[in-house]
C-alpha cells in the first residue's frame, strides 16, 4: 500500500512542477482566443486576434525581419560552428581545453553584457546599426550551440570509419563528403534548428544592436506591451511559442542521445 501512496504523491508533485512551468504559457495561449479585450474575463472563442495580426503591416514587417535575420545567422553560424567543431575534434594542439572553454563562454556570459559589448564594438567600428549588426550579433551566440551539437556528434563517431574510407581509396575530401558529413548531418541540422530558434527568440542582445527598419518580433512585442497588453500580443506570442517548440522537438528528434553502441563492443 505504501508504494501506491508514494507513487501518487510523486505523481501529484510532478504535475505541480509541470503546472508551474507551463501554466503561464497555457493561459497566454488560451487568452489569445478570448473574444474580450481584457485578459481577465473569458467572453467567448474567437480567431479575430489572429486575423488582426495578419493584417497588421508592422507585425508582418517585423516577422520578415526576424526571418531574414534568422535565416542568415543560421546559415553562417552553422557553417562556422560545424567547421570549428570538426577542427576542435580532429586536431590536438596546445591550450585545447582553454580554446574549447572559449567556444562555450558566450553561452554563459549574461546576455546583457553580450549585447552591451557588441553595441560598443559596433559603434567603435562605425558600423551603422541595422540588420547586418543583428545578424553578426546573432551569429556570435549561435555558433557556440552549433559547435556543441556537432561536437557531440563527432564524439560519437568512431574515428576508424574515416580511416577505413581512406583505406578504400577515398581522398580526404571524399572521406569528408561521403563519410564524415553524412554521419554528423543530424548534429548539423539540430545545431541549425537551435540557432534559428535562438535567433528568432532573442530579445536582450537584439535590443542593443537593432537599428531603424530592423525591428524583430520580440522587439515589436516589447514595444506593444509598453502600450498595454492586447490579445494580439497573446496571439503573436502563441504563434512564436508554437514555432519554437516545434523546432526544438525537431532538433531533439534529430539528435539521438544514446547511440547504437552494439558495434563498438
Amino acid at each position: 500500500m505504501q508504494k501506491t501512496w508514494r507513487s501518487s504523491v510523486l505523481l501529484a508533485y510532478s504535475l505541480a512542477v509541470l503546472a508551474f512551468l507551463y501554466l503561464p504559457l497555457i493561459i497566454l495561449a488560451l487568452y489569445s482566443f478570448n473574444d474580450s479585450r481584457i485578459n481577465a474575463v473569458w467572453s467567448g472563442f474567437t480567431f479575430k486576434w489572429y486575423q488582426a495580426l495578419f493584417q497588421n503591416t508592422r507585425v508582418l514587417e517585423a516577422l520578415t525581419n526576424t526571418l531574414i535575420i534568422g535565416f542568415f545567422s543560421t546559415i553562417i553560424s552553422t557553417a562556422l560552428g560545424t567547421t570549428a567543431a570538426i577542427a576542435l575534434h580532429r586536431y590536438h594542439y596546445k591550450f585545447k581545453t582553454v580554446i574549447n572553454g572559449l567556444v562555450y563562454l558566450p553561452i554563459l556570459i549574461p546576455e546583457i553584457v553580450m549585447g552591451l559589448s557588441l553595441l560598443v564594438l559596433f559603434s567603435q567600428a562605425h558600423l551603422p546599426l541595422g540588420k547586418p549588426t543583428l545578424i553578426l550579433a546573432h551569429i556570435t551566440f549561435c555558433v557556440s550551440f552549433v559547435v556543441i551539437t556537432v561536437g557531440a556528434r563527432m564524439e560519437g563517431m568512431r574515428n576508424d570509419l574515416e580511416q577505413a574510407a581512406s583505406d578504400l581509396y577515398a581522398t580526404p575530401w571524399q572521406t569528408f563528403r561521403y563519410i564524415t558529413l553524412p554521419l554528423i548531418m543530424p548534429g548539423i541540422i539540430a545545431g541549425a534548428l537551435i540557432a534559428f530558434t535562438l535567433s528568432i527568440d532573442d530579445f536582450v542582445i537584439s535590443f542593443f544592436v537593432a537599428g531603424p527598419n530592423s525591428t524583430t518580433l520580440p522587439l515589436y512585442i516589447y514595444a506593444m506591451v509598453k502600450r498595454g497588453i492586447s490579445p494580439e500580443i497573446n496571439a503573436l506570442s502563441t504563434l512564436m511559442m508554437c514555432a519554437t517548440v516545434s523546432m526544438v522537438v525537431l532538433a531533439e528528434i534529430l539528435q539521438p542521445r544514446h547511440h547504437h553502441r552494439s558495434q563498438e563492443e
Binding site: Q163, S166, Y169
Partner: protein
C-alpha cells in the same frame, strides 16, 4: 618465391616512446603471414604502417617493388579489415562494398560484376540491403572482408578480425578465411594475439615482443623449436629446466612421470632415467588429459605435465615422482 612486401630498417616512435626499434621483414606473394604477440608489442602499428595509416619514423616500405613509404593510404593497393569492422553505418551492405570501387572509379558494369562475385564468395547475397547495425557480429565481419576483397588488393591486412566474436564462430571463420586465402592465392597479413589462431591459419608466423621480432618461421617450427623463453612461453605451455649453463624448454605433453620408487638411481627402467624428482602438488582434470603439477625438489619451481592416464592409474597429490623425457624433445632456448 616473389616478394610482395619488404620492410627495410623500419623504426617507429610515438613522441619519445620507441615502439619499434629497427625491424626488417619481407613477405612473400600469396603468403598467409601472422604477426603474433601480446598487446602493445607493435604488431598493429606495423600493420597500420603497411596500410599507410601510420608513417614509419625511419625506414622504407616496398610494396610489389614500389616504395610506398610516404604514400597516403588511399594511394596504396592494400586493403584492411579493421578490428571492429569499421563498416559505414549510413550505408547498406552493398553500398559498403561498392565504396572502394566507386572511389577508384571502376566502370559501373565491372563494379557490379565484382560486387556480386564477392557477395557470393562471402555468402552475403541475401543481406545486400541490410544495414550493418541489423547484422550479427559474424555477418558484419564478412561484410568487412568483402569490402576489402572486392578491390583485388595486392595484400589484405587483417587486424584481429575475429577478436570480437565468440569461440564457436571464431573457429568457423578461421577455416573460412584460410580457405578463402588459399583459393584466391592472396597475400594476407594477419595480426592476432591468439596463438591458437596463429598456429592453425598461418603459413608463417612472426612472433613479436616490444617491437622486436622474436622468431620468424613455420607454425610447426615456432611450436616445436622455440628460439627463446618468450616464444616458448607465449605459444602453448612450456616448462623450463636449467641444466648446467643451458635452459631447456619442454612442452607439458613431452614430460613423462614415473613413481620415484620405480625409477630411482640404480633401478632398471624401460625409458631414459629421470632428470628431476619432485612431489605432485595438484591435479586438474581437462577431459582428455590430466594436468599434473609437480614441485621440483630443491627448488620452488612447479612444472606441469599432461598425462593421458586411464582410470586404473592416476596420480595423487603428494605422490613422489621422477620426471623424464626423450632427448629429442628438449629444446635448448636462449634466455
Amino acid at each position: 618465391m616473389e616478394q610482395m612486401i619488404q620492410l627495410e630498417g623500419i623504426t617507429k616512435k610515438f613522441g619519445a616512446n620507441l615502439i619499434i626499434p629497427t625491424l626488417n621483414l619481407s613477405i612473400n606473394d600469396g603468403e598467409f603471414l601472422t604477426l603474433l604477440g601480446p598487446s602493445g608489442c607493435g604488431k598493429t602499428t606495423l600493420l597500420r604502417m603497411i596500410a599507410g595509416l601510420e608513417t614509419p619514423t625511419t625506414g622504407k616500405i616496398i610494396l610489389d617493388g614500389k616504395d610506398v613509404t610516404h604514400l597516403p593510404p588511399y594511394k596504396r593497393d592494400v586493403n584492411m579489415v579493421f578490428q571492429n569492422y569499421a563498416l559505414f553505418p549510413h550505408m547498406n551492405v552493398e553500398e559498403n562494398i561498392y565504396f572502394g570501387l566507386k572511389m577508384k572509379k571502376v566502370p559501373e558494369a565491372e563494379a557490379a560484376e565484382r560486387v556480386s562475385q564477392v557477395l557470393y564468395l562471402t555468402q552475403l547475397e541475401e543481406f545486400r540491403e541490410r544495414r550493418p547495425q541489423q547484422m550479427s557480429g559474424g555477418q558484419q565481419q564478412r561484410v568487412a572482408i568483402a569490402r576489402a576483397l572486392v578491390n583485388n588488393p595486392k595484400v589484405l591486412l587483417l587486424d584481429e578480425p575475429l577478436g570480437a566474436l565468440d569461440y564457436q564462430l571464431r573457429k568457423k571463420l578461421q577455416l573460412e578465411l584460410k580457405n578463402l586465402q588459399r583459393s584466391l592465392g592472396l597475400t594476407f597479413i594477419y595480426v592476432t594475439h591468439d596463438q591458437e589462431e596463429a598456429l592453425t591459419m598461418s603459413d608463417r608466423i612472426v612472433v613479436m615482443n616490444k617491437g622486436v621480432i622474436q622468431q620468424d618461421g613455420h607454425p610447426d617450427a615456432i611450436y616445436h623449436q622455440p628460439k627463446n623463453k618468450f616464444v616458448a612461453k607465449f605459444i602453448g605451455e612450456s616448462n623450463f629446466f636449467e641444466m648446467g649453463d643451458s635452459v631447456y624448454a619442454l612442452r607439458p605433453e613431452k614430460l613423462n612421470l614415473c613413481l620415484e620408487e620405480d625409477c630411482v638411481e640404480g633401478k632398471e627402467t624401460q625409458h631414459p632415467a629421470p632428470q628431476f624428482f619432485g612431489s605432485v602438488v595438484d591435479i586438474v582434470f581437462y577431459g582428455t588429459i590430466d594436468k599434473v603439477f609437480i614441485r621440483l625438489d630443491n627448488s620452488n619451481q612447479v612444472v606441469v605435465a599432461y598425462q593421458y592416464f586411464d582410470d586404473v592409474k592416476r596420480w595423487k597429490v603428494d605422490d613422489r615422482v621422477g620426471i623424464w623425457w626423450y632427448e629429442r624433445d628438449g629444446v635448448k632456448v636462449e634466455q
